[in-house]
């Protein structure tokens, strides 16, 4: 599907460049700090030199991390745990995320929950492309992260990051709902540290 409108490329962090940590980090946030990611972002802001816009950034970041609407696309086993995460015992609604939008146009976040087969891969990519910026992807479970149990299979894509950029990986087969929530919290931490003045061309 073609898209109209103007597209914006937000200032995203190339997480692939992060190498292994020096110390033994415990939480992923510590890992983030360990790799100097926050400092990188701060330095990028200082270069622009506008504190006001970084405040706007912070407001928008706060809004964005507080209202991540996922697109409701389950692929396989992990989708059931996605439902479990949204349900009464774990209640993703506490983070304001219970609005699972069936239309990707209104979503901010995509859970790649389950095995991405080769036949499904172009559709997943299309779904991702239909989402408006800024958007994030969480690869859930072994299948979406690397191909997992089906890595030797002839019809399974070996990791969804081959086709779309992934922000957070949640291992587990499938991960229990708390692990999902932990992954979501990690994503919130990441969004907190992103620079998004790009909409008005302020940060560039």
């Amino acid at each position: 599907m073609e898209e109209g409108g103007f597209r914006v490329d937000p200032v995203t962090i190339d997480t692939t460049k992060i190498k292994t940590a020096k110390k033994k980090p415990v939480t992923a946030l510590e890992k983030l700090e360990d790799t100097g990611l926050i400092n990188t972002v701060l330095a990028a802001r200082e270069r622009e030199g506008l504190i006001l816009f970084s405040t706007i950034d912070q407001i928008f970041n706060w809004a964005r991390l507080s209202s991540l609407w996922p697109v409701s696309s389950g692929l396989a086993c992990c989708a059931i745990e996605m439902m479990a995460t949204a349900m009464a015992h774990h209640d993703i609604a506490r983070f304001g995320m219970e609005i699972f939008r069936a239309s990707p146009r209104q979503a901010d976040l995509m859970f790649v929950a389950g095995t991405v087969t080769k036949r499904m891969a172009p559709r997943v990519k299309q779904l991702y492309e239909m989402m408006p910026d800024p958007k994030w992807v969480i690869a859930v479970g072994s299948c979406a992260s690397t191909g997992g149990p089906y890595i030797e299979s002839y019809s399974v894509l070996k990791g969804v990051d081959l086709i779309i950029p992934v922000d957070v990986y949640i291992p587990g087969c499938p991960p229990r709902p708390e692990a999902w929530l932990y992954g979501i919290i990690q994503l919130r931490e990441k969004i907190k540290n992103e620079g998004y003045g790009a909409k008005w061309g302020l940060n560039k």
Binding site: A79, I80, E81, M83, M87, T117, R123, P149, S153, P174
Partner: protein, 382 residues
């Protein structure tokens, strides 16, 4: 009057196709003229992997076929292997297996009914269903350390014995569950809108249902009194008192009622099993004889064979999974790996009848009828 046909592609990403199924619909306005399910968006090549893994290594993969009810999958595969190799199973292990399978049947039906109601637009039932499901999953986790993919039932027994505190918790769950089912019935059963949506929708006669190879609650909803647990008994089901739940309206509502009744029957079975579970061994070992009753992982690792070679031959073994007849065909060539694994999955065969069921209905009816045959795409596509 000349009208144009509208062709709608429902799926593979659509809120009510329970995953990644796609319907190609030829529509005349809102009426479905022809419905063609397009499968394979979750085809993961499990059967090929079955040939590449050893018998024990393949058990985790069976969990991921019908991920709503993994225990029956485990059991069906293990039963096939046991029949192939002629392994006897200690009684306590069979009791534990029946506990897990019946619990899993309840879980499966909860999610099935919940997602049916969600597709019809009522979001509450699925929340309540998952609330009880979570309690059951805590039992599973207590028993085997995982919530959905268990890898628990092994050839000749089960992986670990029942832990302390499991039976009281199970009893509590059973007591709780009865009240909850009353709640569900009060919420749904006589709801006029629900009846309007379900009665006389997705009708399939008994002859058609048999001819299409439908099994499980979908078949019993069409008035065929057939339950493999009863008429081709396996495990300890011959000793248990239960009935096959049959309704003969043949429509979506009948299939829904069959599921509710089956949950009650499962509770009944569980109550019997919990009362009579024997104190005995949980693992029998084809090579080392029968192991003593154990509960610790170390004992399991001691008494479980790492490599396992059944004799040459082939077997087709089937059980009554929550969704219908689940069968495993295994051909062995006497090596450590199966020569061929074929999975007869209930969802796949039940789905065959969908085009017949929904012809001349509308999209909302397609969703209602599709919801009641309870398809899991991992099971369809394998």
């Amino acid at each position: 009057m000349e009208t144009d046909e509208l062709i709608i592609n429902m799926g593979p990403v659509h809120p009510s196709t329970h995953g990644v199924l796609r319907f190609k619909l030829r529509m005349d306005g809102e009426i479905i003229k022809e419905c063609t399910p397009v499968l394979g968006y979750l085809h993961r090549g499990t059967e090929k992997l079955g040939e590449m893994k050893t018998y024990l290594q393949f058990i985790p993969y069976t969990d991921r076929l019908d991920y709503m009810s993994a225990f029956p999958n485990n059991y069906a595969y293990v039963k096939a292997v046991e029949e192939l190799a002629g392994i006897e199973v200690p009684l306590r292990a069979e009791y534990i297996r029946v506990i897990t399978m019946e619990l899993n049947r309840i879980v499966n039906h909860l999610v099935s009914i919940g997602s049916l109601l969600l597709d019809l637009g009522a979001s509450t039932m699925i929340m309540w269903g998952f609330r009880e499901r979570e309690n059951a999953l805590q039992l599973f986790e207590k028993l085997c350390g995982a919530r959905m993919t268990f890898n628990y039932i092994k050839p000749g027994g089960v992986r670990e014995d029942i832990p302390e505190g499991f039976i009281p918790q199970l009893n509590e769950f059973l007591k709780d569950m009865e009240k909850r089912i009353e709640d569900y019935e009060q919420l749904i059963n006589s709801n006029e809108i629900f009846l309007m949506r379900m009665k006389n929708i997705g009708v399939i006669s008994a002859e058609d249902a048999i001819n299409y190879g439908m099994t499980g609650p979908t078949l019993r909803g069409s008035g065929v009194d057939y339950d493999l647990r009863k008429y081709e008994p396996y495990s300890i089901y011959p000793d248990l008192d239960f009935k096959a739940c049959v309704r003969d309206e043949c429509d979506s509502y009948a299939r829904y009622i069959v599921r509710i009744e089956e949950m009650k029957e499962s509770l009944h079975i569980l109550r019997q099993v919990v009362d009579t579970i024997p104190e005995a061994k949980i693992v029998s070992n084809p090579k080392y004889g029968v192991a003593p009753m154990t509960g610790t992982p170390s004992a399991v690792s001691t008494y479980f064979p790492r490599i396992f070679t059944p004799p040459t031959g082939e077997v087709y073994s089937r059980i009554e999974a929550p969704k219908g007849e689940l069968g495993f065909y295994i051909a062995s060539d006497g090596t450590t790996k199966p020569y061929r694994v074929k999975i007869r999955s209930p969802s796949f065969c039940n789905l065959t009848a969908i085009p017949k069921m929904v012809q001349g209905l509308k999209i909302p009816d397609l969703i209602a009828a599709f919801g009641t045959i309870d398809v899991v795409l991992g099971d369809v596509d394998r």
